[in-house]
């Protein structure tokens, strides 16, 4: 008997058929991987299972019994829990509040905060998911936030746990931790549906795998029987070959230089990014990025990468130190001036900083260029030019949208990211700051963006790649700097690091070995 069986599930959003008569079965206590390109319909299928979307057609069986959910409450009552792709957390509330909301322990009419904290501590210890119960969610790292999400589901007694791209925001170490947790849960009898774009992870953790493509199921098989290459081909319909990288010329012109840059916590941009705390966020960081090279910044998120990104694009003034671009001091120039000097930036938080989701595709594609030729002439926008440009980028970067007038908010996450990457790379920059550029992207899109970055490198651009994705950093970078607690603890040519070295350095161990 299946733990969950979904039969001929169909879901339409207007003209879009997100799920087209999808059959999907999960066995009890298995880890089932759900694969598919961006927009294949994975999230939609799972949201239907969780009662968030109402299906247009089809049947759902839980433990063999037909069910009909009119909302998540029903799904939760049937032991289904879901960790969402975009976290469902209220940033201003505490960890405890987020976890217990809807299932609060009471003392009389009051919420028993002591008990709630205790419950959180208890579950988090049982499953080895450490979080500070009193921290405000907006002030903890994404990895931590994810734990909060998992705790939420576990506290509600989930027997079927849906994890929608949980690893997209995690550092390698954290992915390892998550897998340990998943295995422990599985041993305890929990069924897990796991969505990912990383075939390595599929192989590492899952028992079986289902592939969706264009809203239809194309295959379900035992993981052991599927090679990564086959799966990739099933997903995107073509073979994915990792891009080749030409040799590195170590003596290009220095484009970006940071000299002893420090940023101390407090208000300022920190207030806007939600980070709090008064410790040093960047500590005496010095580095150079030369034209024709990719400098990779490896590190667990929350170790100063965001501050680094903000300092370089001018959103944050360092407390000390200087930033030079082509030899010119840009420390106090501000985002406008820095952009005008030819800096492109793919922000790490694309939803918040990369797009205006109620603007159309065409409008978003000139964000940051709204005052520059050819899109504006003496302050007047040039719709012709803007539309031509949009059409070009949408084509070049394979942004899937119904039209150029579509609000960007209605695009899938992957397509939003492609749009941002396309916009930034097409600006003809001489420095590219790419922060988590492939987060959440499917293998096809990831491959595409990697190729684009490498092409930029061939053109002699200087590229600063900030990524929590070890494989990505290793595959693309000429040199790698490891950040830990606001400091650069190692900076060497890429080939001098082993994967293990990097992992240890990122975890704050082996600082002694830093060069």
């Amino acid at each position: 008997m299946w733990a969950v069986r979904m039969e001929k599930i169909t879901k339409r959003f207007g003209p879009v058929v997100a799920n087209d008569a999808v059959d999907f079965e999960v066995a009890p206590a298995e880890i089932h991987c759900l694969l598919g390109e961006n927009g294949a319909g994975k999230t939609t299928l799972m949201r239907i299972l969780f009662g968030l979307y109402r299906k247009d057609a089809g049947e759902i069986y839980v433990d063999g019994k037909p069910v009909s959910f009119s909302g998540p409450r029903d799904a939760i009552a049937h032991g289904i829990g879901m960790v969402h792709q975009h976290f469902m957390l209220a940033g201003r509330l505490t960890v405890t509040e987020n976890i217990v909301a809807g299932a609060e322990p009471r003392r009389g009419v009051l919420l028993d905060y002591a008990k709630a904290r205790e419950m959180v501590r208890e579950v988090s210890e049982r499953y080895g998911l450490k979080v500070d119960p009193d921290a405000h969610v907006e002030s903890i790292s994404v990895g931590q936030q994810q734990r909060v999400e998992i705790l939420k589901a576990l506290l509600r007694g989930a027997k079927v746990l849906i994890l929608d791209e949980p690893t997209a925001v995690l550092a390698p170490q954290e992915v390892g931790d998550l897998f340990d947790i998943m295995r422990r849960l599985k041993e305890g009898g929990t069924t897990i549906i796991f969505i990912t774009h990383k075939l390595k992870e599929t192989a590492a953790i899952s028992d079986r795998v289902t592939v969706l493509r264009d809203g239809r199921r194309v295959a379900t098989m035992n993981t052991a029987d599927a090679s990564p290459a086959d799966l990739a081909e099933l997903m995107v319909g073509r073979q994915i070959v990792p891009p080749a990288r030409k040799g590195h010329s170590p003596d290009g012109k220095v484009v970006l230089e940071l000299q002893n840059v420090s940023v101390r916590g407090g208000l300022g941009a920190g207030a806007r990014t939600g980070g709090a705390g008064g410790k040093a966020r960047l500590n005496n960081v010095s580095l150079q990025v030369r034209s024709g090279e990719i400098l990779g910044i490896a590190g667990v998120e929350g170790n100063g990468q965001l501050e680094l990104e903000e300092v370089i694009v001018g959103l944050r003034k360092p407390t000390s130190g200087r930033v030079l671009l082509n030899g010119r001091d840009i420390t106090r120039l501000g985002p406008r001036g820095i952009r005008d000097m030819g800096v492109a930036c793919i922000p790490s938080d694309r939803l918040r900083r990369g797009i205006v989701d109620s603007f159309s595709v065409a409008q978003n594609l000139i964000l940051g260029e709204q005052t520059s030729a050819p899109f504006a002439a003496s302050g007047i926008l040039q719709p012709r030019k803007i539309v031509e440009h949009a059409a070009k980028i949408v084509n070049m970067f394979d942004v899937r949208t119904a039209s150029l007038d579509q609000p960007v908010g209605s695009l899938s996450g992957g397509n939003q990211q492609k749009l941002v990457v396309g916009r930034e790379l097409s600006r003809g920059p001489n420095l590219i700051v790419a922060a988590q550029p492939t987060r959440g992207l499917d293998i096809g899109a990831t491959d595409y963006i990697h190729r684009q970055l490498l092409a930029m490198r061939e053109q002699g651009k200087a590229i600063l790649l900030i990524s929590a994705e070890l494989d990505e950093v290793r595959a693309l970078s000429d040199r790698i700097a490891v950040m830990y607690e606001g400091q650069i603890v190692a900076l060497r040519p890429a080939e001098e690091f082993t994967e293990r070295d990097l992992g240890l350095l990122m975890a704050g161990q082996g600082v002694g070995v830093a060069s």
């Binding site: 409450r73 209220a90 509040e97 909301a101 009419v109 009051l110």
Partner: protein, 314 residues
């Protein structure tokens, strides 16, 4: 100089402050509940007005001012329910629904007044609430003057503000309200009925503003007068924001507004000779200065003003 200090530190200013802050603080707390749940409430003005009217109507019908207070709470609550239906169920823009409600309340109360009492301007006088003195407190020198004798609704306000704070920050319901206003999807996915929580909050908001109205018409006065809310709903709106969507903060802001107003009134009859219009500007200028000086970055609930529809219906 001496005279100026006498004017500023006149203890009666403080007593007047408490009186004048009462309706504003109640409505501000109403605003806090509504907005914490995600529904913008520009309709406080109309809710106060309706409460004031219903209060008099209740006392007129029953002869009992306390039944009048009940009427006011119910009347304000009905206005809240109207706002809720439009803003939540019918997905009307929250701001425009509130504006519409204010106009509706003005028309409705004036109209009913003609129907009931054949007079547009003022109703008949009804039984108002008697003053209440706290036995021991009233004899304490300074405290007695400030807090010793007030309308029972003043004490009720102070208690309600505290209770409101407890509900908002110390109870499961409060958590659900805050979650609905911060992240309705998150609330929905943990099984919280977002709309139910919003209905509750907006209706409660109307009840509280209605009670504020009853204070005007049954405690400060004992009749209804056309448009007697006289902008207090807008002041409550400001007080709620100033108070960071927290009932106690709202009370603080209401005290600030009321105190500067009391000061203004006191200055008018003091030896400080300034043009009346300049004196009357004082509360507003002072508020702006305090706001600028305090550097309070108001951060509204993240999902304020948004219509939430769980994916079920999508």
């Amino acid at each position: 100089m001496r005279e100026i200090l006498d004017v500023i530190f006149d203890i009666n200013n403080v007593t007047a402050t408490i009186r004048m802050a009462t309706p504003i603080a109640l409505a501000a707390m109403g605003g806090a509940f509504s907005e914490r749940s995600g529904v913008i409430n520009i309709g406080l003005e109309g809710m106060i007005l309706t409460g004031a009217f219903c209060g008099v109507l209740g006392s007129y019908i029953s002869g009992s001012p306390w039944l009048g207070v009940l009427f006011a709470v119910v009347g304000g609550g009905l206005m809240g329910a109207t706002l809720a239906v439009f803003a939540i169920k019918l997905k009307a823009d929250h701001v425009v629904s509130g504006v519409g409600l204010n106009i509706l309340a003005l028309g409705l109360t004036s109209w009913l007044m003609q129907v009931l009492w054949k007079n547009r301007g003022t109703s008949v006088s009804v039984n108002g609430l008697p003053m209440f003195s706290i036995p021991v407190v009233r004899d304490v020198p300074v405290l007695g003057t400030i807090l010793g004798t007030h309308s029972p609704l003043v004490y009720m306000m102070l208690i309600l503000i505290f209770l409101g704070w407890v509900v908002m920050f110390k109870t499961p319901l409060g958590l659900r309200i805050r979650m609905a206003g911060e992240h309705p999807e998150a609330a929905d996915t943990v099984g919280i009925n977002v709309h139910a929580v919003q209905y509750f909050s907006v209706i409660l908001s109307g009840c509280l503003a209605g009670l504020g109205g009853a204070y005007l018409s049954l405690a400060q006065l004992n009749w209804f007068s056309m448009n007697m809310s006289a902008g207090r709903g807008y002041m409550a709106l400001a007080a709620n924001i100033f108070g960071q969507w927290n009932p106690i903060g709202g009370l603080g802001a209401s005290f600030l507004f009321a105190f500067t107003d009391a000061l203004q009134m006191r200055i008018q009859t003091s030896p400080i000779k300034l043009p009346t219009d300049i004196i009357q500007m004082l509360p507003y200028i002072l508020t702006i200065l305090v706001l600028a000086g305090a550097v309070i970055r108001s951060r509204p609930p993240a999902a304020l003003g948004r219509h939430y529809e769980s994916g079920r219906a999508a």
